[in-house]
């Protein structure tokens, strides 16, 4: 491991370089093949520098190269730099920065490895460290997998610390004093006599100074930003209508367009007739973009109306054309040939179940859409061999590559401007909406064009959360499960995503069993097997991916076992749990919810626990039966993040994850007929509303051994906690989502 560590470490060398009137700080990369995202204005020889901090006459700008889709990453990443750089938080500027492979995300890849999340063994750690190299070689600048915080935690703080040391050295040179006599305070170097030299005034001198490779970091006890709830850097803009999403981008002479693709996803278009559209006001033209059309007009609404008027003839779907037919392929996948992985295999489940009295159950979850609040859209402008793309997206380096390939130009000539995202949840890792915009931009004679999808187009052309089925067998002995056998079948999201990226798809896909395998329960005979169902509709990552359904599967069946064992479901989990941080979140949520305390008739509480994205998360939900249907009254969440950087953002994200999970649990379902998605808008694929949302209390713990991200872990336990509460209140065990197929909700 020593050697790997050394190589990985070298990727973190910090550099600085002059820019016009200032300096940038960041990382040099190991044998870097990458382009410098701030090439323009950089000195020769400084071309491999990736900036995280930029200081010029306008002040301090922190580059936060991850998508801000609500999860607060711009604030937390900026706080990491600001903490070490010693600047006033309300004086910094924050920018997403350009698309660059240098902003690669190594944590997202490491988390794709088939080791149990609690596995801190030498082997697991060695392989995780080695991943730093291929991640960089692939150069993915992606946001997802709750990876931003762990990925940035060291890089961002070191960038701030190195910049601060260089600025001190710059002041020492400028004033001809010993650097050891100087201090910093809120964006300035302070001399022993109390004179203040702002960082801006030192930037040009700083540009000539080589930064330390491995600057020391502040001890946690001295933090003044990290560990505190910081004012979000986007709060004012997002409360005044001034935050810019790509749908808001305006350029001079800009045209407006929309797309209408084959509703049988990925199917061809055999003909189209745009004669009626041609008569409409503001219509510019219709383009065949392969599998559908784009209609250009002088206003978005006119483009929508014209697209409706274009008659298209669609070919068949390249997959089984109905929900039933798709589920049949999943049902048929529990075979030896389709066995994908068995990442938990403890004791001898078959022997333990053989002849024993045991329970069996089958669970299933539907296909789901992301339904981000901002429909898919992008602005593209292709002129003079240059392409600019404005898009809220989770994968700017891929956007750059795709844009270049479609426009037929060099990636050097492509600039990707990542705006705020009106929701991501995994949808904006997929870049179809950017690809279409670039195709349209080739047909506008050098004018910029904004391509906005209608909600209907967005709902019916997602990369969906795949359907999944689980089959369980289990037995109890003396009030405790002694055999737990889970089989889970689903199409492979990894295969789908890797295939689109041109990456190898071989090897097991642990996403199929994420949130079910490696759960820290000491069950004597415990086995989780994943089965890979064949590909059908387009699928991708959906907030918490496999854990989004495995939390429901695994923890509902745990509840069934507790019932069979005639024991309290929380007590039973506490008896089984063999991971300290996990035990503590269960204890916390029990205490917060007064678990076991008296409840009025018609009320029930359910508990669920999922270890996902390295975050042990326990949730309790309380429901009541009312005249109008079932009401979700309260929810409690306890999660362990290792080190809590921003309590307010953590609370918001955990609550958000829970609500997203409850939406899916109660009412989320995409169905297909004749190859077409049947749900079209929020009237038939709605999100939870304020009146359906429970009171939520959150507790964030810090017993874990590593820092973690929190965008997703709130989601997986929510459906099971709710279904278990319904069982407690009504005696009805619902094994299929959405729950409203079986029960009325208020």
């Amino acid at each position: 491991m020593g050697k790997l560590k050394t190589i990985a470490r070298r990727t973190f060398l910090i550099g600085s370089a002059g820019i016009v009137g200032g300096v940038v700080f960041g990382y040099w990369k190991y044998k870097t093949p990458y382009d410098n995202p701030l090439r323009a204005g950089l000195d020769e020889g400084a071309s491999a520098l990736t900036p995280y901090v930029k200081i010029d006459e306008n002040g301090v700008t922190i580059i936060t190269p991850r998508a801000e889709m609500g999860q607060g990453v711009h604030t937390t990443l900026a706080a990491m730099v600001a903490e070490e750089l010693d600047v006033a938080f309300d004086e910094i500027k924050v920018e997403h920065g350009p698309a660059s492979s240098a902003y690669y995300n190594e944590v997202a890849l490491a988390d794709g490895l088939p080791f149990a999340p609690t596995d801190r063994s030498w082997l697991a750690e060695t392989v995780r460290a080695a991943v730093a190299i291929p991640a960089k070689l692939i150069g993915m600048q992606a946001t997802g997998g709750s990876s931003t915080t762990p990925d940035g935690y060291e890089k961002m703080r070191k960038a701030g610390a190195a910049a601060r040391l260089v600025l001190i050295e710059a002041a020492a040179q400028k004033l001809d004093v010993d650097a050891g006599t100087l201090k910093t305070k809120n964006g300035a170097v302070i001399t022993p006599s109390g004179d203040r030299h702002s960082y801006e005034s030192l930037a040009v001198v700083a540009a000539g100074i080589e930064p330390p490779a491995d600057p020391p970091l502040k001890p946690q006890s001295e933090w003044r930003y990290l560990g505190k709830s910081m004012p979000r850097v986007d709060a004012v803009a997002k409360s005044t209508g001034t935050a810019e999403y790509s749908i808001d981008v305006r350029l001079s002479e800009m045209l407006y367009a929309t797309v209408k693709m084959n509703p049988r996803l990925g199917g061809a278009m055999t003909a189209y007739d745009d004669s009626a559209a041609k008569e409409m006001r503001g219509y510019v033209k219709t383009i065949d973009i392969g599998g559908g059309i784009a209609v250009i007009a002088d206003n978005t609404w006119r483009a929508f109306e014209a697209a409706k008027a274009v008659e298209c003839t669609w070919a068949d779907a390249p997959y089984p054309p109905s929900t039933e037919a798709i589920f049949a392929t999943v049902e048929a996948s529990f075979t030896d040939e389709q066995r994908d992985n068995r990442l938990t295999d403890i004791g001898d489940v078959d022997a333990a179940l053989d002849g024993a009295v045991h329970i069996e159950a089958e669970y299933r979850v539907p296909i789901l859409a992301h339904a981000t609040m901002e429909p898919m859209n992008a602005v593209a402008w292709l002129r003079d061999g240059k392409l600019d793309i404005w898009a809220g997206n989770q994968f700017p380096t891929k956007a750059k590559e795709d844009g270049a390939a479609i426009a037929g130009i060099d990636p050097e000539q492509v600039s990707v401007h990542t705006t705020y995202l009106g929701g991501g949840f995994g949808r904006r890792v997929e870049l179809d909406f950017i690809q279409y915009a670039v195709q349209v931009a080739k047909e506008t004679d050098g004018k910029p064009v904004k391509v906005t999808w209608s909600r209907e187009e967005d709902m019916c052309h997602d990369f969906y959360r795949p359907p999944a089925i689980a089959r369980f067998r289990g037995a109890v002995e003396d009030g405790t499960p002694n055999a737990y056998d889970g089989k889970i079948a689903s199409p492979s999201v990894l295969e789908a995503m890797s295939g689109r990226l041109g990456l190898p798809t071989a090897g097991p896909d642990k996403l199929i069993v994420d949130g079910a395998y490696g759960q820290p329960y000491a069950i004597t005979n415990y086995r989780i097997t994943g089965y890979r169902a064949p590909p059908s509709i387009p699928i991708s990552s959906w907030r918490s991916v496999g854990a989004s359904y495995n939390g429901f599967f695994h923890e509902s069946f745990m509840d069934e076992l507790a019932h069979a064992a005639e024991t309290d479901p929380l007590e039973m989990r506490l008896r089984l749990i063999n991971h300290d941080a996990s035990r503590k979140v269960l204890e916390a949520v029990g205490e917060m919810s007064s678990w076991g305390g008296p409840l009025a008739a018609g009320k029930g509480r359910g508990v669920a626990f999922t270890l996902s994205f390295n975050v042990p998360t326990a949730e309790v939900i309380e429901v009541s039966m009312t005249e109008e249907g079932l009401k979700v009254d309260k929810a409690w969440i306890a999660a362990d993040v290792g080190t809590a950087l921003d309590p307010s953002i953590l609370e918001a994200q955990l609550s958000s994850g829970l609500i997203y999970g409850l939406t899916a649990a109660i009412q989320g379902e995409i169905t297909l007929e004749d190859g077409e998605v049947q749900q079209t808008n929020f009237h038939d694929y709605d999100g939870l509303r304020i009146n359906q949302t429970p009171e939520i209390a959150v507790s964030v713990l810090e017993n874990g051994d590593r820092i973690t991200g929190i965008g997703e872990p709130g989601t997986p336990p929510a459906p099971a906690a709710l279904a278990n509460a319904i069982f407690a209140a009504t005696g009805q065990r619902i094994r299929e989502l959405p729950l409203n197929k079986h029960l009325d909700f208020v």
């Binding site: 001034t242 978005t300 006119r302 009106g422």
Partner: protein, 152 residues
């Protein structure tokens, strides 16, 4: 036709059935009101017409009678309205996309009721969807804005 938006009169030459939302966004460049669904199901496009909260995606511009106020007209970053200030204080926004509509809806509602109960808030706000699930903080922000408006 003429349209008064945020105190300014604009001449617009569009079909009367074009929804107000698209006149604001694409013709006048006022992008605070957002497009979410186009069928009055999400509230992202909410603006005030003579003080009443309206879904601008489903309001033909030809039917607009009265002064239009958008989130930009409610307050600015330098001079926020009490509702906007409460939104910042409670750090409501996540992705933020629904929040122009949430704030406009809340502002119209609070103009009528400055001492809302939880049930009043649920009733008034259930037409505004937030996929990020910011509802707990929306509730808190509305209560705190109400207190400010009451002068409490």
């Amino acid at each position: 036709m003429q349209l008064k938006v945020n105190g300014q009169v604009h001449d617009v030459d569009v079909e009367p059935d074009m929804p107000l939302l698209w006149v604001l966004r694409d013709e006048l460049g006022i992008t605070g009101p957002k497009f979410g669904c186009g069928i009055a199901m999400c509230g992202a496009c909410t603006v005030h017409v003579d003080g009443v909260a309206e879904r601008s995606c489903s309001l033909p511009v030809g039917d607009v009678e009265g002064d239009v106020v958008t989130i930009e007209g409610l307050g600015t970053p330098a001079a926020m309205n009490a509702v906007q200030a409460a939104w910042v204080k409670h750090q409501v926004a996540q992705c933020g996309y629904c929040q122009s509509g949430q704030i406009m809806n809340a502002a119209a509602f609070l103009a009528e009721n400055t001492d809302p109960s939880d049930a009043d808030i649920d009733d008034a706000m259930s037409g505004n969807l937030c996929r990020c699930g910011t509802y707990p903080r929306i509730r808190a922000a509305i209560k705190s804005a109400a207190a400010t408006l009451r002068g409490a």
